[in-house]
Symmetry: C2
Subunit: 146 residues, 2 copies
DNA sequence: GAGCCCGGCGCAACCGGATTGCATCTGCGC
DNA sequence: GCGCAGATGCAATCCGGTTGCGCCGGGCTC
């Protein structure tokens, strides 16, 4: 999987700006984790985030978990359940990051957001069921794995 | 969650018939696990299956895992990834059990197959990506939990 | 700039679903 | 019935994620 950073310095600054704008306490681990998500070309597992940070700014794995939870609660990131019983995290770029589909490669596990795929807003449910959220995931092979 | 059996004896016979028809070795744990799935009104976790069997025909939990894998590989059951990092299993009733959506209650965890909800057959993917399977999951509250 | 304090951090222990290794048992073809 | 490939049971292990707790430091107050 390709997760080369896109303009690391700019993303680090953007991360700090986003945290400040949210009125939250700015700490080095928070900025570092969010910067990694902003730089990434795909949604990352906890392990991938930790590994990316290891070379530049090691952060305790529990802290990474807690920062990710916090980012999700804040709406700055979203959590994507995976086939492999681990979660992947992606930055929520737009302020009101709407529902969107995801693609997961069955071979390498890479997961990307499909921002422009419309998720069916409503499906027919059994009587009395109330929908809250719709999740649409496409599985297949990514361009690199074909 | 309601998982009262639907005609247990008939389902047990159906389970044995399905395994025989598949040309596979018929063992007591296999028949018992498949019967539980056929009787269930919703998709069950490994734990729920084990608990259901405990009263009538206790099966080692590792065996349950292995039987479930085997049923999925055989196409007699399908595996639904859940929000809670556990899997749920449902019998695949039709021989060519097509793609269908699922509903998961965010309160009690009950997961049911929505056999009649059309899953979008094709979504626009990035260049070079090849789709294999589409998964559509609706989260919300079930009738009992509202 | 120094001090305070609450919330964030690191560390170690823990949890639970799932997997693996291996010896024993058994369904079923002969 | 026999034999054996393959299924089962048991114990140990793995691994993603969580919890408890003492220390630390970001940011407000003056
Ligand atoms: Mn996404
Ligand atoms: Mn189903
Ligand atoms: Zn791939
Ligand atoms: Zn419910």
């Amino acid at each position: 999987m390709d997760r080369r950073p896109l303009r690391p310095a700019a993303k680090a600054a953007a991360a700090r700006r986003l945290i400040r704008a949210a009125g939250e306490r700015l700490t080095a681990p928070r900025a570092a984790v969010l910067a990694v998500l902003l730089e990434a070309r795909s949604a990352l597992t906890h392990h991938e985030i930790e590994a990316t940070l290891a070379t530049t700014f090691p952060v305790d794995r529990v802290t990474v978990y807690r920062v990710l939870d916090w980012l999700v609660a804040l709406g700055l990131a979203h959590r994507i359940p995976g086939e492999d019983r681990s979660w992947r995290f992606g930055a929520s770029r737009a302020p009101a990051h709407g529902p969107h589909a995801h693609f997961t490669c069955t071979r390498c596990g890479t997961t990307v957001c499909l921002e422009d795929v419309a998720v069916p807003p409503a499906v027919k449910l059994p009587r009395g069921f109330r929908p809250q959220k719709v999740e649409l995931t496409v599985q297949g092979l990514c361009a690199a794995c074909r």
